[in-house]
């Protein structure tokens, strides 16, 4: 019950981690089924229809329901601590964001239970995704599930932006902000400007499917390329929404475990901003073969290659940070160091794909699959593993078992390269993506087998990680405030896990790497910026949960409106009625929220003193 009503950003972070982790397992299972299907030529393991469904759900789940939420988990758990804040700007909205994401994700996956699963690919290209070709409810689940989950992401992004702009501790200027907070800041800005485009695209597709509109239906004057533009003007920034937080994590971890200040901090900041900006300028590199013409292709090709410059700056800064540092290869750093060459490989194939004429060869082949998995798995997932191992003690008060963590790294890392390295060559040899079978005798067999073995090995690595989580959770909470002993940023100055109010007294920040600076000056902790006093906290609320549920019910009702009978002899169907009930539920919750005053509550001074162990 406590968890259903919580508005505490640390608990919401844990909820995101659990839900995102769960969807990672679902998406991973789908991946493994895909790979089993492809392990030998002309295999008949799942069948063509199921393959399309698995493929679509794998991509959609991984991007929207696994990767994004785990990023949000870390951002929730860490950002207020890193900037010295007691909370996020809008705790209520924060919890609303979580519940809408979760109910959207559940709605999407209800499709498996119902048996009408989305099957037009995670890009939902028109007219394939329209009602002519996808005439069961599969793509309705895609459209509505993502729409609902997208609301959660958008309000989450706004929340982080306001938190970072308005709630930094005294002395925490923008140019003293930790890199992870910086990357979360830019990521949130990208979310703010990218997701509304997806909202419109999904709404238009929904109108086409449910209300016979003609946006993307060429026979009624609609335009299928319009979908591609709308999708990718969201979709390309989305890739940077995923990778920038990973960059932030790597910067923190490498600096901590090299016991050195991050090399080129200000160039890192500007590179992050530049990548975020360019991320919006390059969407049409996904459409070189669509027929936009040579001028458009050339411009988007060049714009894309420009991104290599700020990215290169980042890579070199990480290397220079390690250079001459006293490096410790504890598990978080192992993942971070493994990230660097892997991500570079993904970047190199990215530049290859950005050359428009060459892309005509690579397009829709396994080369593309290899490229984006090097970026998303080799980049983002290694980064997330690094961050999760790094901040686990702060979130849960327990350090993950180091031996098991090392084992996770090696199985996952080797499995990853086995799976995806050979796919470059499969692609160059002409194996198309999004196919459920290939013929014998084309020279594809061995490499596909290797790829499948690699995928199983990655699955094993994930299982070892889960075992580690279980093993760790049964031991007592014993993590010190600064478990890596070389913590540099503010989150390491407070107990693990932190008390509800984070900081008993808001700290005064005197430089970049605030905690490290105090340590260098021989101080044991931060200087407080305010006297000890009672702390005001927002009250918990069940409303966000019911609002998420309301959206879920509404989506479900509208989806089935065409199938279910009429309502009391009117034009309205039972489905519409259910949908309206769901929306009313949301509105009533909003109404309640605005009429009930939330005065919150105070945590009194003696209680804080007790937490501090009578000192202070």
């Amino acid at each position: 019950m406590d968890w259903l009503t919580t508005v505490d950003h640390k608990k919401i972070g844990i909820l995101y981690l659990i839900a995102g982790g769960f969807f990672f397992l679902v998406g991973g299972l789908e991946a493994i089924l895909i790979r089993i299907q492809l392990w030998k030529p002309q295999n008949d393991f799942v069948g063509a229809d199921t393959y399309n469904e698995l493929l679509t759900m794998h991509g959609t789940t991984m991007i929207f329901l696994a990767a994004m939420p785990v990023i949000f988990a870390l951002m929730n758990a860490v950002i207020p601590l890193q900037i010295g804040a007691r909370d996020v700007a809008f705790p209520f909205v924060n919890s609303l964001g979580f519940w809408t994401f979760l109910f959207g994700g559940i709605l999407l996956n209800v499709s498996w239970i119902v048996g009408d699963v989305p099957d037009a690919g995670w890009t939902a290209y028109a007219p394939l995704a329209g009602s002519t070709y996808s005439n069961d409810h599969g793509m309705d689940y895609y459209v509505l599930g993502l729409q609902i989950a997208g609301i959660g992401t958008l309000i989450g992004g706004i929340n982080f932006l306001v938190t970072i702009i308005n709630m930094r501790a005294p002395g925490m200027t923008f140019m003293r902000m930790p890199m992870f907070t910086w990357s979360a800041f830019i990521t949130s800005a990208l979310i703010l400007f990218a997701f509304p485009a997806l909202t419109v695209g999904l709404a238009a597709l929904m109108f086409d499917r449910l209300f016979e509109a003609n946006f993307f239906d060429p026979s009624a004057g609609g335009n299928a390329v319009l979908w591609e533009h709308i999708f990718w003007i969201f979709g390309h920034p989305e890739v940077y929404i995923l990778i920038l937080p990973a960059f932030g994590i790597i910067s923190e971890v490498i600096s901590t475990f090299s016991r050195k200040r991050l090399f080129g901090y200000s160039s890192m900041v500007f590179a992050t901003i530049l990548i975020g900006f360019l991320g919006f300028m390059v969407w049409a590199h996904h459409m070189f073969t669509t027929g936009l013409g040579p001028v458009a292709n050339a411009l988007f090709s060049i714009a894309t290659m420009l991104i290599a410059v700020p990215t290169g700056i980042k890579i070199f800064n990480w290397l220079f940070t390690m250079w001459g540092g006293s490096i410790s290869f504890k598990s978080p750093n192992l993942f971070a160091v493994g990230f660097i060459p892997t991500f570079v490989m993904g970047g190199v194939t990215g530049v290859m794909l950005a050359a428009a004429p060459a892309d005509f060869q690579y397009h829709d082949s396994y080369f593309v699959v290899a490229h984006f998995h090097y970026v998303i798995v080799g980049g983002l997932v290694l980064g997330l593993f690094s961050g999760v191992h790094y901040w686990w003690p702060k979130m849960f008060g327990r350090i993950l078992n180091e031996g098991l963590a090392q084992l996770t790294f090696w199985t996952f890392f080797i499995g990853f390269h086995l799976t995806f390295f050979v796919q470059h060559f499969l692609g160059l040899m002409g194996m198309p993506r999004r196919i459920w079978q290939y013929l014998d005798g084309l020279g594809f067999n061995e490499m596909n087998l290797i790829s499948t073995i690699g995928a199983l090995l990655m699955g094993l690595g994930t299982i070892i990680f889960l075992i580690n989580v279980v093993v760790t959770s049964v031991k007592p909470k014993n993590a010190p405030a600064d478990p890596w002993e070389d913590g540099r940023t503010l989150e390491w100055t407070i107990p693990s896990p932190p008390p509800e109010y984070n900081f008993a007294q808001t700290p005064l920040v005197r430089g970049y790497d605030a905690y490290w600076k105090e340590k260098q000056d021989g101080h044991s902790g931060m200087t407080p910026a305010e006297p000890l006093g009672p702390i005001h906290m927002p009250s918990p609320s069940i409303l966000p949960f019911f609002m998420g549920l309301g959206f879920f019910i509404a989506g479900f009702g509208f989806m089935y409106a065409p199938d279910w009978g009429h309502f009391l002899g009117t034009d309205l169907t039972v489905g519409h009625a259910i949908g309206i009930v769901g929306l009313l539920m949301v509105l009533i919750c909003m109404l309640l929220r605005s009429v009930i005053d939330d005065h919150g509550f105070h945590i009194e001074e003696d209680e804080i003193k007790r937490d501090l162990g009578g000192k202070a």
Binding site: A89, L154, I158, N159, L161, A203, N214, G221, L591
Partner: protein
């Protein structure tokens, strides 16, 4: 934190910015409007891409009744002005006149909405249905999204009026009023673009 301290004493000149909560709300709302800009931008782009695809349905220059639209525009722009008066009244701490200006704003908004509904019904009779063509789908989606925003604004401000009547002007209610005012202006600006891009350009080409 300091939400209660000010209420009994006197309000500052700009009560909406007196607390951190208030400032957070206003900044968050500016950002939200940034997202809304992208949302409407995408709708405009879709409309521009599809506006010549009229198939058998009526073309924009046969369809649009500029006189009606001009009335609607005048009403909506006036309501923006009255919402400015509302904010000015708030800064002078005149709750009564604040509430009155808000009521006038809501009434004008409802007038606009009534004209729009009339307009849509009228077009429907001319054979311009939601499913007629790509042009009609994108027209109703763009203009309808705006209309839905107006409706939402009307409900929202009505709720605020009730709150103000019950609780008066405090550092809690002031940011809400301010933010609603921002929203109302935004809707107006979007309408100016719709008037130009949809109606005027539709008449010309």
């Amino acid at each position: 934190m300091s939400a209660h301290t000010h209420v009994e004493g006197h309000l500052p000149h700009e009560p909406e910015k007196a607390t951190l909560e208030g400032r957070n709300k206003i900044l968050g709302f500016w950002l939200f409007l940034g997202g809304e800009t992208v949302l409407f931008g995408t709708l405009f782009a879709a409309f521009l891409a599809l506006r010549h695809q009229v198939l058998d349905g009526p073309a924009p220059n046969e369809l649009f009744d500029l006189k009606l639209v001009a009335y609607a525009t005048a009403i909506l722009l006036t309501s923006s002005l009255t919402s400015v008066f509302a904010i000015q009244a708030m800064h002078q701490h005149k709750v009564k006149s604040l509430i009155n200006w808000l009521i006038i704003t809501v009434v004008l908004g409802a007038g606009f909405l009534a004209l729009e509904i009339y307009e849509f019904v009228h077009y429907l009779h001319l054979g311009h249905g939601f499913t007629t063509s790509a042009f009609s789908s994108s027209f109703y989606t763009l203009v309808g999204f705006h209309g839905a925003h107006v409706l939402f604004g009307i409900l929202w401000i009505t709720l605020l009026i009730i709150q103000l009547a019950k609780k008066g002007l405090t550092v809690v209610t002031a940011p809400k009023v301010y933010v609603a005012g921002m929203y109302w202006h935004f809707i107006d600006v979007v309408w100016v673009f719709i008037f130009t891009v949809v109606y005027l350009m539709g008449k010309v080409v």
